[in-house]
Symmetry: D2
Subunit: 336 residues, 4 copies
């Protein structure tokens, strides 16, 4: 039996972790920490759990983590780094779903997150938790930085083409559309139904904190200087990320050629499906799949890749559990 704690359990990612974990017979969630809801029953905040999950949110007390096998940290970026160092002395493994340990450079972190990193000493040991890239490092990691939702979709879309030298590493254009749950569970006029419904908006153009994550992970993985332009959009649906990537082909290839490269690259990846039809959000929602589609545009010598995930599953809680499964040498898709 794996003992697991969830820190920040009342947000959307935290609740998704509970949803995916509470039916497993091989995992026991020992702690549901949520400072803002401490003392309330989980089913009070998320009535969907009534009759299924008998637990209460607790305040944060680090003493309670002693001997926990794995702790999922689903705190907002900027909060996790205050807690993780202490946690690492208590919980055997830590999987942080936020952005605090994804960038190797504290300077870049400050530039994009707009505050100092207070636990930069732990950055070198953090393993970027993308199983399709770092399976073996994840297995042995004490601290896993679970990838961001946009980066998960974008990196999986680009990794084969860059690794196999099909495309140039600069001039990459990433356009993403995200469901609103990606903005978290918060009170904000900007996220209210009346403002989001029948509306679309781009935001943080060229300044989103996931931009350096995409560039650095792809750069480190392929030993290239990767340069991308990234524009995220909010669209009126709850779950899902739809990412369309344009890049410049280095040599003429066919759709079939590229699809073969992708299929082979992800041959052992149980959650990546290289599709022959254009994927849709509905194909992956509430699953841990990433569906990919490749298309060569011979007129413009571009490779276009479509990449689709559920932001709360493969883009957050599902991938975190996939990482846990790897750590504990379970099948990657156990419970997913």
């Amino acid at each position: 039996m794996i003992t697991a704690a969830v820190l920040g359990a009342s947000g959307y990612s935290g609740a998704e972790l509970l949803r995916l974990l509470h039916t497993r017979s091989d995992v026991k969630v020992t702690r549901c920490i949520a400072a803002s809801s401490a003392g309330k029953r989980v089913a009070e905040v998320y009535p969907a759990f009534a009759g299924r999950l008998d637990a209460s949110f607790e305040p944060l007390e680090l003493s309670g983590f002693d001997g926990t096998d794995v702790t999922f940290v689903a705190l907002p970026s900027g909060e996790a780094m205050h807690v993780v160092p202490d946690l690492l002395g208590k919980s055997r493994r830590v999987i942080d779903l936020g952005g605090d340990f994804r960038l190797q450079s504290a300077a870049v972190y400050k530039e994009f997150y707009h505050h100092e990193h207070v636990a930069a000493a732990f950055l070198p040991e953090a393993v970027y938790g993308l199983p399709e890239l770092n399976f073996e490092k994840i297995r042995d990691a004490r601290l896993v930085a679970n990838p961001g939702c946009y980066p998960t979709s974008a990196i999986l879309a680009l990794l084969p083409a860059l690794s196999r030298n099909l495309i140039a590493s600069d001039g990459i254009v990433i356009t993403s559309m995200s469901g609103i749950s990606g903005a978290g569970r918060s009170a904000s006029v900007d996220l209210s139904f009346s403002e989001i419904n029948e509306n679309i908006r781009a935001y943080k153009i060229g300044q989103h904190q996931h931009l350096p994550e995409i560039e650095s992970v792809l750069g480190d993985a392929t030993r290239k200087q990767v340069s991308v332009s990234f524009v995220p959009h909010l669209v009126p649906l709850t779950r899902g990320i739809y990412t369309t990537v344009h890049s410049t082909l280095l040599a003429p290839v066919s759709d079939d050629d590229v699809r073969s490269v992708y299929s082979e690259f992800y041959h052992h990846a149980p959650f990546v499906r290289v599709k022959e039809e254009i994927p849709q959000i509905s194909h992956v929602v509430r699953t841990n799949y990433c569906d990919l589609f490749v298309k060569v545009d011979p007129r413009t010598h571009q490779l276009i890749v479509v990449s689709v995930i559920d932001n709360l599953v493969k883009g957050a809680a599902g991938q975190a559990i996939q990482n846990m499964n790897i750590m504990f040498q379970l099948p990657q898709n156990e419970g997913l």
Copy 2:
């Protein structure tokens, strides 16, 4: 030229007033009061107005209202009653879009609004601003209490049947579904897209503040003791109210009989359409129409009436402007 002020201009009803008024050549909006946005340009808060409406939100200063022909008060219920008494000495006419002057009884007001009425002395003079009921009183009123959105749909649905003694005045069941803009422009997790989308919820069952408004207006108009059960629901759309009313027929009648009664009753009402097909929100959205449909259920001896409006137009700003038109002896549908 009618000079008009809008107090509480940055909420959804206030913005709808500006949308409907700013193109009129016979009305000049002299003041846009919005304490929370004071100093900002209207087009900053509502970018749709860019290039069309060159005005700024101002803080509340009563001195500025001297000699204004009409002031629309679009403040939350409970705030208007603190301002209206002073306004009445300055602005020639006042139309309050909130609930503070709709009930004749300060005791009932306290029961349903959960605070004391501080301007009860002004209740007797307030005219309930439903033009289909109170056309002549509105024309001469100094203070009009613009009807609530649910009551507008429900009262228009019931007025002919009760007035013509087709139905019993008790045992009336009103079920309403409202778009989310009816809840106002506010930061709240409960109103966030992720909570509202793909969801429905009833609220304030049997306790909504519009309940006594419906009963008292219908009761006064028909000199009957009217008793209704009212359940409002929030459904995932931005605009519109869909109200379905069940009542008990006093004698057998046909659909055609009832439709004739309704058509005749609203013969002079330019904004009520008695339809032969079941109406839909899309038929009335962004208009000042109320679409009605009547259906006799001979099995259960019930009269079923469907009533549909746009909550921000006939349910708020449009009806307020209809009232202004009546006050200034313009065609009721001027600018609507």
Copy 3:
């Protein structure tokens, strides 16, 4: 191992059956029949199944059903009755998700379904598959008529109050809102996104085919003459039914009294949750739960009950599987 066939597997209810069955280790889906999609792979029509369900849709050939333990018939009403008689000689058990075997009277069937019943001889043997009502009959039934989505929500809302003589059996008003998947997977302008989005409409007022189902099942169960008025509405969400019921209390009671009656009545029902807060669609979506909420309106002597389900789960495929579980003496919630 239970062998199961699905007839009409390419509609929304059929696909939901496959979704719920394909991960079970104790059930093997041996046949996916879908005439309109015969020859296509399931993952071609429903790409969400790619990599998870390796099966193809087949044309209907009754010979293939010999010895099947259970056949789920997810055909449109009016088609099932042409097939079920032959099926009953081959498949050990048949669960029909449509309306053909829910009414005991072929005459009432014709009145509300607008065509003759061609298999009326099988009506007496069909068991109405509402487990909270007919657990033991379902266990032994050869033919189960799985309840309609609206009736499931309405009957569960009313059964305790009628059975315990809390309310009058006439004058009952049922108002329901349904997600659009309830209308099935079909090409229709009326169901297109542009017509449904930002819209609400009532339909089949007083004439819906689920009306006699509600009345006859409640009447038979409580040995009363039950008379209801029923208005269904389409609202812009994909899944879920929200039903609000008004009825007349026979004697004064408190909310707590009624809640106790309901809680006790459903004490052994694993999928009915009697809640203390008003339920929402989001609390039950993708689950087999029915959430109930009771509220006494002392002003009008009415009992108001809110009842919420997922139309494709408790209102269709989930309840069918619950019935299968009962037939094969498994825990009711196995795989749900």
Copy 4:
């Protein structure tokens, strides 16, 4: 008084034309042609017009167009070219809202529309009806090809930068998201609410018929070889197009520099707003505005432009009326 006919009046663009024209005192709609709805009243098909527009749909008879000042052709692409040649002998001016006369090359037309052009002789005389580009030609044109919705947003986004030599004319990436009304009013499972809601999909990647329209109009206007990669997406809202364009800067510039170029370029264009904040669909919906936002990404030397319109207004009916206004020497924004 301008006499106007609408051909194809029952589709979404046709209905939007009626909505925008029926309140004008200087335009009289003399014919509403809609073969599929011939004989029905407009208010029967679009109940929103009840009490406001007293007209019926008629079958197509060319004789009826004699002497009409202007005819709007809102037929599907491929149908207009069969009618327009005859119309030009009868109606003084013709504005075609479809794609049949937008491309100068019949060969390219065949490649992207997948059928032969049967009226290629009329291509040279057709004027591309983008007022911001062809104001004077439109004024004098007998036949105007009203721009496509995607091209309107994309061309307005790129015209200033290409004309002023700020960006390279190749390597342009256009990503667009469209509301579903852009797909027209048709019965299709793919466009049904249950398939579109909570979903996103890209389509016709690199093959959309608007691609050559964008390239050829920009190429002709700037005398450059323009090459773009274009991916359209369907997102779950009814109206609006959101286009995000990436291009390569030819020399370093600041955001302010580019914004000045754009503001000056569109100085005389009443419907283009160059904004300092990122625009949203809600800012332009139901208006004829195109909102533009420019952003230099100094890291990648790219210019990012966001362009937002209402697909049924500036992307169809509104722009057609703007063209009519220009033809008849009215203010461009008359009635818009």
